[in-house]
Each structure stands twice: as C-alpha cells, then as structure tokens.
Amino acid sequence: MAKYAAPGQPGSVVTYRDRYDHFIGGEYVPPAKGQYFANPTPVTGENFTEIARGTSEDVDRALDAAHGASRAWGRTSVAERANVLNKIADRIEANLEMLAVAETWDNGKAVRETLAADLPLAVDHFRYFAGALRAQEGGISQIDEDLVAYHLHEPLGVVAQIIPWNFPILMAVWKLAPALAAGNAVVLKPAEQTPASIHVLMELIADLIPPGVLNIVNGFGVEAGKPLASSRRIAKVAFTGETTTGRLIMQYASENIIPVTLELGGKSPNVFFSDVASQRDAFYDKALEGFTMFALNQGEVCTCPSRALIQSDIYDGFMGDAVERTRAIKQGHPLDTETMMGAQASNDQLEKILSYIDIGRQEGARVLTGGERADLGGELSGGYYVTPTIFEGDNKMRIFQEEIFGPVVSVTQFSDYDDAMKTANDTLYGLGAGVWSRDGSVAYRAGRDIQAGRVWVNNYHAYPAHAAFGGYKQSGIGRENHKMMLDHYQQTKNLLVSYSPNALGFF
C-alpha cells in the first residue's frame, strides 16, 4: 500500500470521533466545566476533533475513581495482571495499522515509523512487563539464626503520569506498562498537542482493564497537569518533558514528599572515529545511516543525535557522504509509506525550530543542507514541515547546546580521543550518545567515558524493552524500559521476623 486514506476519508482504517471526553472510572465523562479545545493534525494544520479541556474538578474525579480501584487492582495476582497486559498487547497488535494511522494523524510523523516502530514497540513493552512481573522476586535475608528479613513488593497506589507529544502512544505505554504491572491505578494526562490517538487506543482496550485502574484526563498543563502533579492524593508522578516543568514537578512533589521520575531530554553527541571510514563497506553505510538518524521522528526525540562529532582526518569525505545521505530523505505526505520524514508536531514547535536555525546562522554556523521551512504543496501547505538541516559550527554555539527538537544536526570536528570526550561531555545533559568505531576497545572506552545514561555503540535509536533508558546530569531521574522500572512504581515492604522465643534482656 502506498498511501493510507486520511482519517475521516472513505477507506480509512481509522475514524476519529468528533469529540473526546475524559476517560474516568471505565467510561467517558464530559468535562466539569463543559469546555473543549480543537485539535489540529500537523499533516495539514486542519482541526479534526475536539478534546475535553480538563480542570481540577476533572482531576479530582479521576483521582476518586483511581483510589476506588487501586486497592483491588493491587491485590490481583501477578498472573492476572500479566494476563491483562498480554491481552492489551494482543489487542494492539491486531489493530496495529489502525493505531499507526491514528498516531500519524495526531502527531504528524511518517506512518512508516508508526507501523515499524511506535506500535510494535508498544506491543512488546506490554509483553515485556507482563513477563518481568511474573519473574519478579522479593528477597529473603537471614540476618542471624533467628531473625529473617522478608522483602516484598507492594504497589504505590495511585500514580500520576504526564505524557509528551513526540510519541503519544509509545511514551504513554512506557509509563503505563510498568505502573499497571506493579499494581497501581493511574491518572494519565496526554500532551495537549497530541491528545487524540491515546483515546483510539483507550477505546480499543477499555474492556480489558477494570474501571478506575486507568483514567485519562485531557487538558492544558496549567489547568489539568498542574492540579494532577500537585495533588496530595498521588503517590508518585512521572513526567517526560523539559527542565523547567521538571523542576516545577519536583517542587510540587517535595510539598507532598512523593517520588518522581523525570525524563528531560538531551543534546546527544554522535561520535564518529576515523576508522569508521577505513573501508567503504556495509559498516560505513550503517554509520552514515546512524548520522542521518537525527531526522528520525522529525528530530522530535529526546535522544536525537543532534550533535555529530567527526574525527578531523575523515571529516571532509564523511560529511560529503553524510550530506548526500541527508538530501536523500524523502519528505512527503506522512500517510504515504514511502515518506521518510513527516510533519513537526505543532505550529509552535515549527516556529521554535526556525528560531534556532536563525540563531545558528547569526552565530556563524554554516548550513550544509536544509535550513528552512518546507512547503510540500497542496493540502500539506498548511502543515508544519522543515527540511532536514545540517549545521557546521562550534560546540559553544547555542545550536550545539540546546535541544531544538527538530530535524537539525550540528556538526563539528575532533582531533583525538580526548578531544572527542571533552566535546561530547560539554553539555548540560546526559541522556543519549552514539559511538561509532571498528575498534571495540575504543568504542567501549568512549561508551564508558561519555556521561550519558544510554550510549549506543555502532547503532543508534534502538529502544528495545530490557535495555534501561534514562538520563545522567540534567536529563532526569530514573530508568524506563527495563524491569528496574517496576521498582520505581513499587514500595518495598520489609517484614523483619524474629523466630527466637527469648527476650532480648534490655527490660
């Protein structure tokens, strides 16, 4: 199939409703204040549905439902919860095309990616946490002959999750799967830029989850996210987003003395050592693709390899090939399976990217390709498209230091290993990094020396479940995507049991 019909058009695999309410207590309920906001598709800029504009009253109602459900859910057997997760995975898998098209329409990304990555990863994530839960064990520690410490996992209770707009379904699933597996009830707020696709998923799986265990409150950050994150009735808050909101959420959490997990982005270095270009073979081709990964998801990835560091002795040749590879990126209708790069998720995101291209030029960075808004013609003229852009400059420039969250890579050279590590670590962030070398020893050392939670060695942008994902430095707190995430959603109960019949003798 070359191109999917747009939602609402004849032959489309998905139909959006005209309006979405909040999903609370197992059913859709209208917002307390009766207000809605229009939701455009970034593909054309046209509105396609409207979404409940939630307020603190709606958040309270969702928290009531979650508290009503959390105790029973937390006491289900692990087999029962794992089965629910597996059934959700099966349901998503059976409707993968529908969800992929829905996701592309809400977010703007190319359907090629939602079909091959977003949705298959979501399926696998539920299955992974179903398995991780079944295999999780507590601990027994024998302190002495008569004293035994039992360590048991208990759910936190009701948790809040605030979801970003770059992978609306997958990022929700990254947070939902471990939280539900661990036995928590959830109140989830989708991003207001991409609030619709999660409801296509919710309607699909609603019958599999007991009412109140998963609640979705839509709305704006200040009106719905803030009352949720600052509520005294949540046991934890998980957030993916930016540093200022991350700090604000920690501030609210400190008032309630609850834990947070935060994923706050990065400015990930992608380091290419000169032996990469020692042969023109499959590995060299792979490395060039690795460079071009900055365009994946239109660059709207927290780990976008947005700084490329190339060893000087291969710089000219490598960059010649890299520019050519980048120019081969096909932009087009996101629902066309041939399209490699779709639309930026919102108008303000488009504007922000263009403002960074502007400051990059002012600072003296050289545009090697791209550097402008793309007008793809026809109905797409109203959408939010940017040409894949390569800047050549210096690591002190702002385009090397700030997350642009667009298809923009800033390239510089390094002389030797130490120079590479110095530049790679000269950043506030430490979420992702890439290292490319045919020398396993160099690749290993670089991977260890770069201060980032995830270093891809001779690959990039893979996100398999069972590989921990999270940040060093200002990139956040906690690790997703791995069974250790279960711990982030659980209390540790210690029963310290004495089997001695004798008094201590103190009193």
Binding site: E192, Q251, G265, D348, Y356, Q362
Partner: protein, 116 residues
C-alpha cells in the same frame, strides 16, 4: 545592560494574563518537548534559587515581569540577547498562555561588543 525584551504582541498577551491571574514571572526552559522555550508562571509559583540567574525585568505598563534562567544554561546563553515573542500554538508545560492558543517563544540575537 538589558538582556531581555518583549515584542508588542507578547506584551498584549501578558496584559491579559496579568489581568486574569496576577503578577507574573518567566523561567527559560531547556531540554526536550516544550523545552528551550520561556515558561510564564504566577510570580513565585516557580521557586528560583542560587542555581538561577535573573536575566532582567520586562516592563509592561506599570508592572514588571522578572525573567530567570538556570545558571548552568546561562553559561551557554550569555552571549545572546533574548526577545520574548508569541506565536499561535498549543501546549507548553504549565505555562499560563497555552489555553489562549498561543505560545511564548524566544527570539535571539548576538549581543554586540558594546553590549558585552
């Protein structure tokens, strides 16, 4: 030396926000998603501390709006002048303007040698 300024369009939005909410502040964000954008809060809502830099105050009629940034971020931004503008948009963490269908945005220029 002024490091921050405001477009007339952004000033208009701030007048409305102040009338609806009260005194305001900005904190410039970094990081992903809605990052690298100025966040507008009720004054005091976001706790600044020794890890922040006060970039300056924006005057809108008779009231002033302080603009802050983390000190670590400022090290990389200190050579640029920031003008807060507003564009149609949606979503912005917990920033106050989002429900209005607009989004504050920073436009930057290099500080001149005289300004530095």
């Amino acid at each position: 030396m002024p490091r921050v300024a405001l477009t007339p369009e952004a000033a208009d939005v701030l007048r409305g926000l102040r009338a609806d909410h009260g005194d305001l502040m900005f904190h410039q964000s970094g990081g992903c998603c809605d990052g690298s954008a100025p966040m507008c809060y009720l004054a005091g809502e976001f706790r600044t501390g020794s890890s922040d830099v006060h970039l300056g105050d924006l005057a809108v009629d008779e009231f002033v709006i302080p603009v802050w940034m983390s000190a670590a971020q400022f090290e990389y931004w200190s050579h640029t002048h920031l003008t807060i503008d507003v564009v149609p948009g949606r979503g912005s963490g917990f920033s106050l303007e989002a429900p209005l269908g607009v989004r504050f945005l920073v436009r930057s220029r290099l500080l001149t040698d005289e300004e530095l």
